[in-house]
């Protein structure tokens, strides 16, 4: 009887190390195994202090060891937990120490996302080919809207954020909410209806918004009906769905994409109450200074007219005439005074001469004046004598009769 270990003499001799290395090479040189997405459920999740993540991916009949290095783990977009169904991307390798083949993972996404992504890309390509996202379709957003329409959930944080932003930036605005569910099977037709209803109220801008969520939560905004309704809107649409990193097809179809609902409200109010206050202050200043300038001009014009008027007015002549009149008056006055003085001296002389001629003085020397009684005439000749006459002497008169 031959010993059994001689019976396979044609077989190669291996050390464990060599074999393990050989297997490792086989796996690592297989291109398919170096770029794969594997779907399964997480179990035995462990995150030691090293920061690397270890777990087992399994389905109903098999299991696969997985490791994710710290650097990749830090970029994980979703929380990991046991029982979670995921798709893991990476490459197959061998951990020689324990002879364990495993998946070196670099990305993990929720199950279904891959299919959604495919659908998203197909629809995007189709609508893009139709020209729905063309830059020339984008309309400018009015800078000073009076009426802002909002399509979002009436109960979401997105609405509260937008109202707070609008209240803070431009409280003059009138908001018209057209409420709609923003996730779930009923969301797309409801969003379309809400957009149409709001269009009939002709606001200046429509904000289409939703707060952050998983890609499934945001999926209504990738629905063809909703995307077309956004493109068809007669009113410019600002789309603010999810977070900074979320892009939906509505973002592409909208006239403006905002990273968040709050940002959408900000983009809708490019002019804020602060700008309005400043503009008003500017007008107040200008209206005042324009009016003051006008008044100053008028005043200057007026005073130049007044001085022209003064130059040509008879006032000046009147002044000099008045002076001449004064002068003449003064001269007349002094001439008159002189004249009066002369006259007065003359009168005094006359008085003295008159004194000398006073008949009483003659009478006092014994002469008498005889007058006729009948007619009072002086009798200076005999022929003039009448029957009765009056004789006047120095201290009185008496009557005489002619003999």
């Amino acid at each position: 009887m031959q010993p059994t270990f001689f019976s396979a003499s044609s077989a190669q001799q291996w050390t464990v190390s060599k074999l393990t290395f050989y297997i490792r090479k086989l796996l690592e040189e297989n291109e398919t195994l170096q770029d794969i997405w594997v779907q399964g459920e997480i179990s035995n999740l462990s995150r030691p202090a090293s920061g690397h993540v270890y777990f087992t991916l399994k389905d109903s009949s098999a299991a696969l060891k997985c490791v994710m290095w710290k650097t990749s783990a830090a970029r994980l977009g979703i929380p990991l937990q046991d029982g979670k169904a995921v798709e893991v991307h990476g490459k197959i390798g061998v951990y020689e120490v324990s002879g364990q083949y495993q998946l070196y993972a670099d990305q993990i996404r929720p199950v279904g996302e891959g299919a959604l992504y495919q659908e998203f890309m197909l629809l995007k390509a189709m609508l893009e080919a139709e020209g729905l996202f063309a830059p020339e379709r984008k309309r400018p957003i009015p800078i000073f809207p009076q009426k802002i329409g909002i399509v979002t959930s009436a109960t979401g944080a997105a609405l509260r954020d937008m109202l707070n932003t609008l209240r803070r930036r431009l409280p003059l605005v009138e908001v018209i909410l057209s409420p709609s569910p923003v996730q779930g099977i009923e969301a797309p037709p409801a969003l379309v209806k809400a957009l149409q209803l709001l269009n009939s109220r002709s606001p200046d801008i429509i904000l289409l918004a939703r707060g952050g969520g998983s890609i499934e939560d945001l999926w209504a905004f990738n629905d063809e009906r909703v995307v077309r309704a956004v493109a068809m809107s007669a009113v410019p649409v600002i789309c603010g769905v999810g977070h900074e990193t979320d892009f939906t097809l509505c973002d592409f179809a909208a006239d403006l994409r905002a990273p968040t609902p709050t940002a959408a409200a900000e983009l809708a109010t490019q002019i804020t109450i602060i700008d309005l206050r400043a503009a008003l202050q500017n007008y107040k200043t200008r209206i005042l200074s324009a009016t003051l300038n006008l008044l100053a001009e008028q005043k200057t014009a007026l005073s130049s007219l007044v001085s022209q008027l003064r130059y040509i007015s008879p006032d000046r002549r009147i002044q000099s005439e008045r002076q001449r009149v004064d002068e003449l008056a003064r001269r007349a006055h002094s001439a008159l005074y002189h004249h009066i003085q002369l006259q007065s001296t003359h009168v005094k002389g006359m008085q003295r001469r008159l004194e000398a001629l006073n008949p009483n003085a003659v009478l006092a020397r014994g002469y008498a004046v005889v007058t006729r009684k009948d007619d009072g005439s002086v009798v200076s000749h005999v022929s003039q004598a009448s029957a009765e006459m009056k004789v006047r002497v120095s201290d009185g008169e008496f009557e005489v009769k002619k003999k």
Partner: protein
């Protein structure tokens, strides 16, 4: 009285919306800054007074403004009731 009928009808200040008041204010500012009112002092002073009143109206509306929120309900517009709190 027939004099005023030739002028454009001015709405009462307190009936103007912010936008209307602002537009008229802009017109008045440019009118006062332009040459047209050079030799019409009386007109200019009237414009100034109207401008002052318009500016005051705008200020008042700005400071008193409160966001008005309404809601579409079918073909109706109804007051918005905030259910988010």
């Amino acid at each position: 009285m027939p004099k005023s009928s030739s002028k454009k009808i001015e709405k009462a200040i307190e009936e103007l919306t912010y936008e209307e008041a602002l537009v008229e204010l802009e017109e008045i500012v440019s009118a006062l800054e332009g040459d047209a009112s050079r030799n019409q002092l009386e007109e200019a002073i009237k414009l100034f007074e109207r401008g002052q009143a318009l500016a005051a109206r705008c200020s008042m509306l700005l400071e008193a403004a409160e966001l008005k929120v309404k809601q579409v309900a079918g073909d109706e517009i109804i007051p918005f009731e905030d259910l988010s709190e």
